[in-house]
């Protein structure tokens, strides 16, 4: 075993023996998000580097501590990418953090999530065992799909060591069209487009403007542009727009100290794309063809959660000063029982990121 991994295994042994919690740390770019980290920091960025990458296999295997930007540059050199567009909230985010937080960017509604692209991984569980699940091939049903369970698990089940991801070619052509429409019209049109064979790869609506990204074969993109109308956005401006949406550098997403002090929060509502407009005080930013609705609001957690539930979804407190109402929507009894069982199955001593997802896990 290499030294860096051996040291991490030792820390896990020690933590387990002394029941002392560990806070698994990659780049720390998402420490603002989720419930407050607890435990002694355990830096895993030493597990770095691309272990294998063969563009013709559409698969990359990478150590979990590798900077995300480094992975994306390596893929870009071969005309490939992580199609789910993981966000970079600041520099230094890691591949492990990307998987553990399970967040995907603007293309998610059309191309799938980070979870959908996980093919396999190596995990260090709470018994300090190094286990490998899944593999480096797209079709694999040997045993339970433990590797995809890790996407969005917030590190509460174990430490990710290596991750194999399905990658895709970069679309040969992209174009962004803009339409000055109100929310209802934008949502209705997005829903109509979704059921037609159009090469849509992203959408956003904010402040009376719908932006629609098309991507794919040149012929398909230009035919769709001709059919849909709207105003074509200049390519550089379009690229900048989508990366600012992905990374939350858009003004809408940046809450300064003053806003936070006023009790303003950034909420993420995940709802069916066809849900009617959600009514809350504040301002809204819509993505994922209507399935993701961000709100900047001073409304309390119960009001926001009720609105999300009424729309058939759930709400997450993405940024906010007061997290006493809980970050994630509480689970029902049966699901919580399964969650406790899984925590026990992977981390019986409860040492990994306790409370980062829900209290008691």
């Amino acid at each position: 075993m290499e030294a860096v991994l051996a040291r991490i295994v030792d820390r896990v042994h020690h933590a387990r023996l002394h029941q002392s919690p560990l806070e698994i740390r990659g780049g720390g770019t998402k420490s603002f998000y989720g419930e407050a980290p607890m435990g002694e920091p355990l830096d895993v960025t030493g597990l770095a580097g691309i272990s294998s990458y063969e563009p013709t296999e559409l698969v990359v295997t990478v150590r979990a501590g590798t900077p995300l930007a480094e992975l994306e540059a390596a893929l870009g050199a071969h005309g490939q990418c992580l199609p789910f567009e993981p966000p970079h909230f600041s520099a230094g985010g890691t591949v492990g953090g990307m998987v553990a937080a399970g967040l995907s960017g603007p293309a998610r509604a059309n191309v799938g999530s980070v979870r959908d692209h996980v093919l396999g991984l190596t995990l260090l569980n709470g018994r300090a065992e190094i286990l490998t699940f899944g593999g480096q091939v797209a079709k694999n049903v040997a045993g339970y799909d433990v590797s995809r369970l890790m996407a969005g698990s917030w590190g509460i089940l174990g430490i990710l060591c290596d991750v194999s991801l399905k990658v895709m070619p970069v679309a040969p052509a992209v174009a962004t069209l803009c339409f000055d429409w109100d929310e209802s019209r934008a949502l209705a049109q997005l829903n109509r487009w979704a059921s037609q064979p159009l090469p849509i790869t992203g959408s956003s609506w904010h402040d009376g403007r719908l932006s629609l990204r098309l991507g794919g074969a040149r012929a398909a993109v230009s035919a769709a542009c001709g059919r849909l109308g709207g105003t074509l956005l200049e390519p550089d401006a379009a690229a900048q727009w989508w990366s600012s949406v992905r990374d939350h550098t858009q003004d809408f997403f940046s809450l300064g100290a003053a806003e936070l002090a006023r009790g303003e929060c950034l909420w993420r509502l995940s709802v069916p794309a066809t849900a009617a407009p959600v009514q809350l005080p504040g301002r809204q930013f819509i993505e994922w063809n209507g399935a993701e609705r961000w709100w900047r609001s001073t409304a309390g957690p119960s009001q926001v959660r009720a609105a999300a539930a009424a729309a058939g979804g759930h709400a997450t407190l993405f940024r906010g000063a007061d997290k006493s109402g809980g970050v994630f929507t509480p689970l029902g009894d049966v699901l919580m029982r399964i969650h406790r069982g899984l925590k026990q199955a992977f981390d019986p001593a409860g040492i990994f990121n306790p409370g980062r997802l829900y209290a008691g896990l």
Binding site: A109, S113, V137, Y144, N191, G216, A219, A223, V271, G313
Partner: protein, 495 residues
């Protein structure tokens, strides 16, 4: 005086279970006579058979809940069953268990064209979903070969694939929500009609869990717009190596075909006689390479595909002129299994996945195995995603052929693991690949799988004995095998 406690006889146990089931279900929904339960003795892996104590055929969710609660109270194993088309024995009965047939859950509850979703009961057939969605210009993408018969509940259990996975994904990528019941009859929902749900993402765990974590009664699937056009190229190659290399070249050019299938010469000869698809019988291998989308997109992509395939050394290319010809190209591929049944009394279908680049190496290894085991093997591959289906031909009447066939199959699976692949791509582990699981997974990994099961089903009542090999089984099997270069099970005592 101490009372003697004896195991109840099978008959007593059956009487108790049937009585309990009859409290949960109408009498006609409980089958227990040998002649009535006979059709449930096996799934499509007919070499393995067992007689269940009873078969329960609930019609409502309340009946499913009551059936599960009754079985849970008596600690009776429960094996959920859809159409029984599984190829790995996942629905094989437990001799002291109950088969929970979901055949009566056959209603499509809702097609929502704006949301591009369908809500269907678990016993609805895969193809029936696409048929019902066709009126809206939509369809359900995963298309296992058995799609006319297999059910969506079974697809969820197996995480089924098909020939279009490379572009459109597996069952997992096309299911939003699974509704069902825990082993004790408590209702549960995984996922939702939104794109994500709070907490751990349990959908990928449940999908592909072979009925071992929960019982599925209702599924929300994603529908996608039907492509306006699909065209298929049939490309011939003089040797399988070039055909394998051509697959890599297509991907390297940034093309994701809607389907990319390879058949070797023995297979084309076999299916040509069966379907008359006009396959090139001179070719050592043929590739079927499909493009779908808008007419403009397809035109552009077919051109690029033709270029790549020609550069890769294709000796002949034929592009489907119309839908009839495209379907004819596919008819051979889709009928590979029944056609093999026509040239051999029996065949065993294998299902492993390897990295695409090892395809030619694998085919050569299989040729060597044909000599070693004295049996013929014909090959079809979902080449685009490295999923191979070698069909080993044998005669079950000859006891030694069955034995050699099993050794041949195990050899293919172990070679697949050695080449960096997996023992099952889409058919599942069931009972068939329990031994091979010992080759792919360490004892600690198997123990972790079991711990996951316990989080859902602490008493191991849902489909027990499937998927996860016992340590003892692996130790027995491991006497002949070495896992990842290590002596298997060093911690177990050996005598």
């Amino acid at each position: 005086m101490q009372r003697m406690i004896s195991q109840p006889t099978r008959e007593q146990r059956q009487a108790d279970v049937v009585a309990a089931l009859r409290e949960a279900l109408p009498h006609e929904a409980v089958l227990f006579r040998r002649e009535d339960t006979a059709p449930y003795e096996c799934d499509a892996l007919t070499a393995y058979r067992a007689t269940p104590l009873a078969v329960a055929m609930p019609e409502t969710e309340a009946q499913v809940a009551a059936t599960l609660a009754a079985c849970h109270r008596l600690a009776v194993p429960i094996i959920a069953r859809g159409a029984g088309t599984g190829l790995s024995g996942g629905a094989l009965p437990h001799p002291l268990g109950v088969i929970l047939s979901l055949a009566r859950f056959n209603r499509i509850l809702k097609i929502d064209a704006a949301a591009c979703t369908a809500v269907v009961q678990s016993g609805v057939r895969n193809l029936a979903i696409s048929e019902a969605a066709a009126a809206y210009g939509l369809y359900y993408a995963p298309d296992p070969s058995s799609q006319i018969a297999c059910t969506i509940g079974g697809n969820v259990a197996e995480n089924s694939g098909g020939v279009h996975c490379l572009k459109y994904g597996l069952t997992l990528h096309n299911v939003l929500r699974v509704r069902g019941f825990m082993v004790d009859g408590t209702p549960v929902e995984f996922g939702s009609e939104a794109l994500d749900s709070p907490g751990l993402d349990l959908l990928p765990l449940v999908i592909g869990s072979e009925g071992m974590l929960a019982v599925t009664t209702e599924v929300t699937v994603k529908l996608i717009p039907k492509p306006l056009l699909a065209r298929c190229i049939m490309a011939s190659f003089d040797d399988v190596e070039s055909a394998g290399a051509a697959v890599a070249s297509v991907i390297a050019r940034g093309i994701i075909p809607a389907g990319l299938e390879l058949m070797d010469q023995s297979m084309t000869a076999c299916v040509e006689a069966f379907v008359h698809a006009d396959y090139d019988l001179e070719a050592a291998a043929i590739l079927l390479c499909e493009s779908d989308g808008t007419p403009e997109e397809v035109h552009e992509e077919i051109q690029r595909m033709e270029e790549v395939l020609t550069q890769a050394g294709a000796s002949r290319l034929e592009v489907s002129r119309d839908e009839a010809q495209r379907l004819r190209f596919w008819s051979g591929r889709k009928n590979a299994f029944p056609a093999s049944g026509g040239i051999s009394p029996d065949y065993m279908c294998m299902d492993s996945t390897i990295p695409r680049k090892r395809l030619a190496e694998m085919l050569r290894a299989i040729q060597q195995m044909e000599i070693k085991y004295g049996l013929r093997c014909v090959n079809v591959f979902h080449a685009g995603d490295g999923n191979l289906h070698p069909l080993i031909l044998f005669d079950a009447e000859q006891p030694d052929e069955m034995r050699r066939c099993e050794l041949f199959g195990a050899d293919i699976l172990e070679t697949s693991v050695r080449l960096g692949g997996t023992v099952t791509g889409e058919h599942g582990v069931g009972v068939e690949k329990l031994n091979s699981m010992c080759v792919q997974f360490s004892p600690a990994e198997c123990a972790q799988f079991l711990a996951v099961k316990h989080a859902f089903d602490p008493l191991e009542l849902l489909n027990p004995g499937k998927v996860i090999p016992s340590l003892q089984r692996c130790a027995e099997y491991g006497k002949m095998h070495v896992h990842r270069g290590m002596l298997p099970f060093p911690e177990l005592p050996r005598f």
